[in-house]
Symmetry: C2
Subunit: 406 residues, 2 copies
C-alpha cells in the first residue's frame, strides 16, 4: 500500500477542530445534555415558508437556479445584502463591495489566502473563534493573542503586541474580531472602545476583519442600539465586514457574505473561482426570496426572544447552583456563555467527569486560544437544549464541579 | 483611502481564469453564437422532478436539511456515490473513502492544499483543465506540461519529464488528468495506455488525480465499454478519483465527490472544515433523493443522445465548411471539440475577428497550457447552442478563418 505520510504538505494542522470534533462526537451519545454544539436551534428554522419559497423558485426560474452562476453570487442576493447592511447602520455600502460565500467560514479562508504570506501577523482575542484560528493557522500566519476584557479587546494589550511584533521585524497585518456577542465568550465590544480601536488600526495600518454572525440576535434593543459596526466608522476602507444568514434563517443553506473594498472583492472573485467556481445557486435564491418576502426580517423578534429566554434560564441556573469561585459572562445576545473555573480546575478533566457522572457536555477553552492557554475555561452554548434541560444540565454540572472542588 | 497593493499575498494569480472570464463576458452579448461556455445545457435539467424531490425533502426532513451537517457530506449521498462508482467498474470502493465537495473544483483546491508544498511538481497534459491549473498554480506548485496525443497523454514524454525533474532535484508528486473526453481537448485515454500509465506511476511513486466529470456522457457504449477507470487498476491506493453530479443532473446543486484512501479522506475532512465547515445540506439531499428515485440513472441515455447529436452536427459542419489545414478532435463523449489552426494563425486574433465579423465565440487555447503555448488552438463547446445555431456558427467561423488565411 501507498505510504502517504511523506506526501502530505506541511499545512492543514487544525488541531483546534480535531479537539472540538472529538468532543462533539461524545456529546452526540443519546441522553447527553449538550451545551457543546454552536449550532443555531433548528426550532427557529421556518421550514414551511422555505418549502413554499423553494417550490416557487423551481417553478419560475428553475433552469437558472440549477445552472452554474456567478462566482461572487446571485445578483438578487447582493441586493438583499445591501439592504441588510444598510439596516445595520452601514449607509455607504455598494453592490461592488459584496461577495457571497459558502458561509462565513469560506470568507475567512479566502481572505486568509488573499492577505497572508507565511509569517504575517494576525491578531486574535484571547479567546477567539476557532474557525478563524484554523483558517489562518493553515496558511502559516503568525497568530498573536490579545487579552480580552468584559467590554471587548484590551486596547492597551493590542498596542503592546503590535509594537512588539514591529520591534522584532514582524509584519502586523490583520486584526480579527467578533465585536457582538462573541463566539466563544459572549463578550461585546463597547461603543467607546470601537472608536478607539479604529484609531489604533488606522495608526498601525491594520486590516480589520469584523466578523458579525450574531449581531441581529440581541436580547435588549435599548442596550445594543448604541453599538455601531466598525465598518460604519471606517472612511479608509480597512474594515472587511463579514456576516451570514446562518443564524437568522438557517445554516444548511450556505450563504455568508463579505462587504469590503472593491479591490478586495475583485481578488476574492479570483480566489473563489479557483476554490469552488460558485456557491449553491438554489440556496442563494432561496435566501434572497425569503428576504424579499419579509420572512427573515419578520421572524427576528421571535428568534431574539427564543435565545434570550434560554440564556436567562442558563444564567438563572448558574446563579442558583454554581459554587463560589466560578465566574461567567452575561451576554447581551448570541448563543454562548463563557465560564472561568478557579485556577486549580482543568476544564478537560472536568469534561470527562461531567460526561461520565452527569451526562453533560460543553467545549473546553484551550482550542479558542491561539496561545493554547485557558485550561480553566469552557464554553456553554444555550442554543440546543430545552429550557428544562438547560436548568437540569447546569444543576448537574455544578454538582460535578463541587465534587471536583472538594 | 487604504492602499491594498502592499497587503495582498503573493498567491491568487489565476490569469487563466481572468482570460476566460473576459471572453465569457464578450460571449454573453445578445445575438452571439457561443461555443465558449463549458456549462452543461440547462435543457437537460429535470426541473420538475427536482421540484417534487425538494418539496418532499422539506416536508419530511426539513430541519435536518437546513441545519449544519457533516463536513464530509450527507451520509445518504455517500451511499449513492458508492453505488455510482461501483456501477462505473470500481467494485472495491468503501464508504470511508468518500468525501462530498462543493463541485469537483473544491476537491482540486483541497487536494492541492493537502499535497502541495511550494515547488512540488504537478504534471498536466498539454492542454489540461483550466480549473485544476488555477488551483495548483495558486499553491505555488511547479506545473510541468506533458504532451498529449489523440489517444491520451504521451507516456514517453511523461517519463522524460519526471526524469528531468528528478535530475534537477525537483519533487515530482502528482499527475493530474481527465481520462475521458477531456476538457478542453475531447481526447480519451486508451485502455492500453491506462495500464502502462499505472505502471509508470507506480514506478515513479506519483499520486494520480483521475478527474472524471464526463465519463457517463459517452456517445457509443460499444466504443467506451473497454475503458476502465484508473482507480480500478490501482491496488496501492495512489489514484484519487473525482467526479460530480454537475453534468449528469445539474451544476447549480454543488455536489462533487472524491474517492480516495481513507488517510486522504481524513486529512480532507480537516481541510474542508477550515474551508467551509460543510457544503449545502439541501443540495446534497436533493441529489441523493434524485438518485434513489432513479431520476439521474434513467435520464442518462437521453443526455448522451442530446450531446451526441450536437457533437455530430458540429463535426458535420466542420467537415463541410472548414478550409484545409485546420484540424480538430472527434470526441467519444463529453462537451468539447478541440481545434488546431495552421501554425501561422493566432486564436486570440481570430477570436476578436470572429466576435466582430461573425458574432461567434469560443475559448482560445493558451489558458489550458501550463507552459502558455497553444496560440494556434481553441476550444469549441457544443453544449449551449441549438443544432441549427451550431451549424450556422461553424459556417460563419469558417468564413472568418478563410478570410484570415487569404
Amino acid at each position: 500500500m501507498m505510504d502517504y505520510s511523506f506526501l502530505f504538505s506541511d499545512d492543514v494542522q487544525v488541531m483546534e477542530y480535531s479537539a472540538i470534533r472529538r468532543m462533539a462526537k461524545l456529546a452526540m451519545q443519546p441522553g447527553i445534555i449538550s451545551f457543546s454544539g454552536g449550532f443555531p436551534s433548528a426550532e427557529t428554522f421556518p421550514v414551511t415558508e422555505i418549502r413554499d419559497v423553494t417550490a416557487s423558485i423551481l417553478e419560475t426560474e428553475g433552469k437558472a437556479a440549477l445552472q452554474y452562476g456567478m462566482t461572487l453570487g446571485h445578483s438578487g442576493l447582493h441586493e438583499v445584502v445591501l439592504e441588510c447592511v444598510q439596516a445595520r447602520g452601514i449607509p455607504d455600502a455598494a453592490l461592488n463591495q459584496i461577495a457571497i460565500t459558502s458561509g462565513s467560514q469560506q470568507a475567512l479562508d479566502l481572505l486568509g489566502r488573499l492577505f497572508i504570506n507565511p509569517g504575517d501577523c494576525v491578531f486574535f482575542e484571547l479567546p477567539s473563534y476557532v474557525g478563524a484560528i484554523a483558517a489562518f493557522r493553515n496558511l502559516r500566519a503568525k497568530l498573536v493573542g490579545v487579552r480580552q476584557q468584559l467590554d471587548g479587546i484590551d486596547l492597551a494589550d493590542l498596542a503592546r503586541q503590535v509594537d512588539q511584533e514591529r520591534r522584532q521585524n514582524g509584519r502586523p497585518k490583520i486584526l480579527y474580531l467578533v465585536p457582538n456577542f462573541q463566539n466563544p465568550s459572549g463578550v461585546t465590544l463597547s461603543q467607546e472602545k470601537r472608536r478607539q480601536l479604529m484609531e489604533l488600526c488606522n495608526r498601525e495600518n491594520l486590516v480589520v476583519i469584523e466578523d458579525d454572525p450574531y449581531g441581529e440576535i440581541y436580547f435588549d434593543s435599548t442596550v445594543v442600539s448604541r453599538l455601531k459596526p466598525l465598518r460604519s466608522m471606517d472612511p479608509e476602507g480597512r474594515v472587511i465586514y463579514l456576516s451570514t444568514f446562518s443564524k437568522i434563517l438557517c445554516p444548511g443553506l450556505r450563504t455568508g457574505w463579505v462587504l469590503a473594498s472593491p479591490l478586495v472583492i475583485e481578488k476574492l472573485d479570483l480566489a473563489k473561482q479557483a476554490a469552488d467556481l460558485c456557491g449553491s445557486m438554489l440556496d442563494q435564491r432561496i435566501v434572497a426570496e425569503c428576504w424579499k418576502r419579509g420572512i427573515i426580517q419578520n421572524r427576528l423578534p421571535e428568534i431574539r426572544s427564543f435565545y434570550r429566554k434560554r440564556c436567562n434560564v442558563m444564567l438563572g441556573a448558574l446563579r442558583e447552583f454554581m459554587p463560589a469561585g466560578i465566574s461567567w459572562t452575561e451576554p447581551l445576545g448570541g448563543l454562548f456563555i463563557w465560564m472561568t473555573l478557579s485556577e486549580r480546575l482543568n476544564s478537560e478533566l472536568l469534561l470527562n467527569a461531567s460526561l461520565e457522572q452527569a451526562g453533560v457536555s460543553f467545549v473546553i477553552g484551550p482550542p479558542f486560544f491561539v496561545n493554547r492557554e485557558g485550561s480553566n475555561t469552557l464554553r456553554l452554548a444555550f442554543s440546543k437544549e430545552s429550557e428544562d434541560n438547560i436548568a437540569l444540565g447546569i444543576e448537574k454540572l455544578a454538582q460535578v464541579i463541587r465534587h471536583h472542588l472538594s
